[in-house]
């Protein structure tokens, strides 16, 4: 199964409940996390994800790019993304 197929199987509810049918693991993500996860599943890269967050949230001075990179690393660590996955 390639990365895209694996990501497509993730069940992400609007309330932030995530089910990974590949492992049976369940997770809770907040609204920001859900946007990033859905964006990754839809094939967005780092720049597009950052712009996506900028459009959805009020500016607050946070380093969005750093947050996205760290979050993707967490998704990898938790098995929601394949070990070799990298944002383009």
């Amino acid at each position: 199964m390639n990365d895209a197929a694996r990501l497509a199987q993730l069940a992400i509810s609007p309330s932030g409940f995530v089910f990974d049918p590949h492992t049976g693991g369940t997770f809770t993500v907040n609204a920001t996390g859900r946007l990033i996860l859905e964006g990754v599943r839809d094939g967005l890269g780092l720049a597009a994800l950052t712009r996506h967050l900028e459009r959805r949230f009020a500016p607050g001075g946070a380093d969005l790019e750093r947050d996205v990179l760290e979050y993707v690393a967490r998704l990898r660590e938790n098995g929601l993304l394949p070990a070799g996955f990298e944002l383009h």
């Binding site: 932030g16 693991g25 369940t26 997770f27 809770t28 993500v29 907040n30 609204a31 920001t32 996390g33 946007l35 990033i36 967050l53 959805r56 949230f57 009020a58 500016p59 607050g60 946070a62 969005l64 947050d67 996205v68 760290e70 979050y71 690393a73 967490r74 998704l75 660590e77 938790n78 929601l80």
Partner: protein, 452 residues
């Protein structure tokens, strides 16, 4: 103006079996925006961050609650405020205003108590090292001096001889209870006969009057049965001294060691399920005193030397998030501006850490560490916290006991301390330190550019 929601950093919490409860409620993170009814932000604005906050109302209420629990059960009670628990003069004076004696364990503490208005007769002087000057002052002035070892007994006799007086002393006992490890470093052992030898030696010297017994079992004692056992042994010894040697004691000091509503790192149950109430402690401490073979008008005064159980809940620490990061194991790391140089008790306790702003964001295990460039600087390990942005505050509680007296100027200087009064007004009781506070006692030799 924008109607977009504020940005919150992304969170991810893995569900683990065994943690969900049958009601299906996820982990809830409480928040607390005020201390003693005063907004934390207002206090930080006035005094800076980090900041210790003491609540005068809790200080007074806890003192009265313990005192009441004891006097309900025994007619002659005195509480001695354990100075080492928190040295701040304002705090000490609050307890003295409530009627507390001072329990000190060094010359420095003795002088502090005197400056706080305590007469020698209102001071309980403990500890394994009592310097000559203070010991002399204490003996001549009528302080309650507790002898710790035979060498001290002999020193007291020499002082009495030099000054032509016969001062009163107590002897400190150590003893075994079935539930606690024995603290046998201090005082004379009751179980192996050492305490009886000390009494014989004291009486044979003829220079000192034995007027009290003292025992201190240990610290943060959660098993109240230990106190009952200690009281039973001390009472039996007191009865024996009276019947065999005609010694009438005026004081039985049963020490301290009462736990506060904190949670030791090794403790499984939270404090509200494990820490006995003052009534439970009092019952075990006092009930055995009914076996004292003393007429009602000669009953000795019961003294307790409490500190932690009185002050811990009255103290909070506000600290500010200065950075967020991910640790190598994937856990969230949060850097705050107060470290273990300020919060010494973080080594022992799992403090409660709560944000001051309410949030509905899901919490995740977080390692909270301080500003010290040392790996040991962990304020809280695996604390369930929501995402917190740089600049947001959290409250660490309870931290009223042993932090200010054991804090040190290590890498960072120490923060300010304020006191909130029952009417909601607040005042500074220790200002934030400056570099001169650290260097004042230093001397730079002339060849290094210093003065003569």
């Amino acid at each position: 103006m924008t109607d977009r929601p504020p940005y919150v950093p992304p969170t991810l919490v893995r569900h683990r079996s065994g943690l969900m409860n049958k009601m299906g409620v996820g982990p809830v993170v409480s928040s607390r925006s005020s201390v003693a009814g005063v907004n934390v932000e207002a206090l930080v604005e006035a005094y800076g961050s980090p900041l210790f906050i003491y609540d005068e109302q809790i200080i007074r209420a806890r003192y009265r609650a313990l005192h009441n629990a004891l006097v309900l059960r025994y007619p002659k009670v005195a509480l001695a405020w354990s100075y080492k628990t928190c040295y701040l003069d304002a705090i000490c004076r609050l307890y003295h205003q409530e009627g507390a004696l001072a329990e000190v364990v060094s010359g420095m503490e003795y002088r502090k108590a005197r400056r706080n208005g305590m007469t020698p007769g209102q001071i309980v002087y403990n500890g394994p090292h009592k310097d000559d000057q203070t010991l002399t002052e204490a003996l001549l002035g009528g302080a309650r001096v507790h002898l710790d070892h035979f060498d001290e007994l002999a020193r007291c006799e020499r002082i009495a001889e030099q000054h032509g007086c016969r001062p009163a002393v107590s002897i400190r006992l150590n003893l075994e209870t079935s539930t606690l490890p024995r603290w046998d470093r201090f005082g004379f052992n009751l179980d192996n006969g050492q305490a009886r030898d000390a009494v014989r030696r004291l009486l044979a010297g003829g220079r000192l009057r034995l007027t009290g017994l003292h025992v201190h079992l240990g610290t943060f004692i959660l098993d109240v049965r230990a106190f009952a056992e200690a009281t039973r042994k001390v009472v039996a010894f007191a009865n024996r001294l009276r019947s065999e040697r005609g010694i009438v004691l005026d004081t039985l000091d049963l020490g301290g060691g009462l736990a506060s509503r904190n949670r030791l790192r090794s403790q499984y149950l939270p404090s509200d399920q494990s820490v006995p109430s003052f009534a439970q402690y009092a019952e075990q401490l006092v009930d055995g005193l009914s076996a004292l073979d003393y007429p009602a008008n000669e009953l000795p005064t019961l003294v307790l030397e409490t500190g932690r159980a009185l002050i811990d809940e009255a103290g909070s620490l506000v600290t500010t998030v200065v950075a967020n990061k991910r640790l190598a194991d994937g856990r969230r790391g949060m850097v705050v501006d107060a470290g273990v140089n300020t919060l010494f008790t973080a080594y022992w306790y799992q403090h409660q850490l709560v944000p001051t702003q309410p949030t509905s964001e899901p919490p995740e295990p977080t390692m909270v560490y301080g500003p010290l460039c040392m790996n040991i600087d962990v304020v809280g390990n695996n604390v369930m916290l929501p995402p917190m942005a740089v600049g947001q505050r959290m409250l660490v509680t309870p931290v009223g006991a042993y932090n200010l007296s054991q804090s040190m100027q290590f890498i960072e200087l120490r923060p300010a301390v304020c006191l909130v009064r029952p009417d909601g007004t607040h005042t500074l009781i220790r200002r934030r330190e400056v570099l001169d506070d650290l260097t004042r006692a230093e001397v730079i030799p002339p060849w290094l550019g210093g003065g003569r």
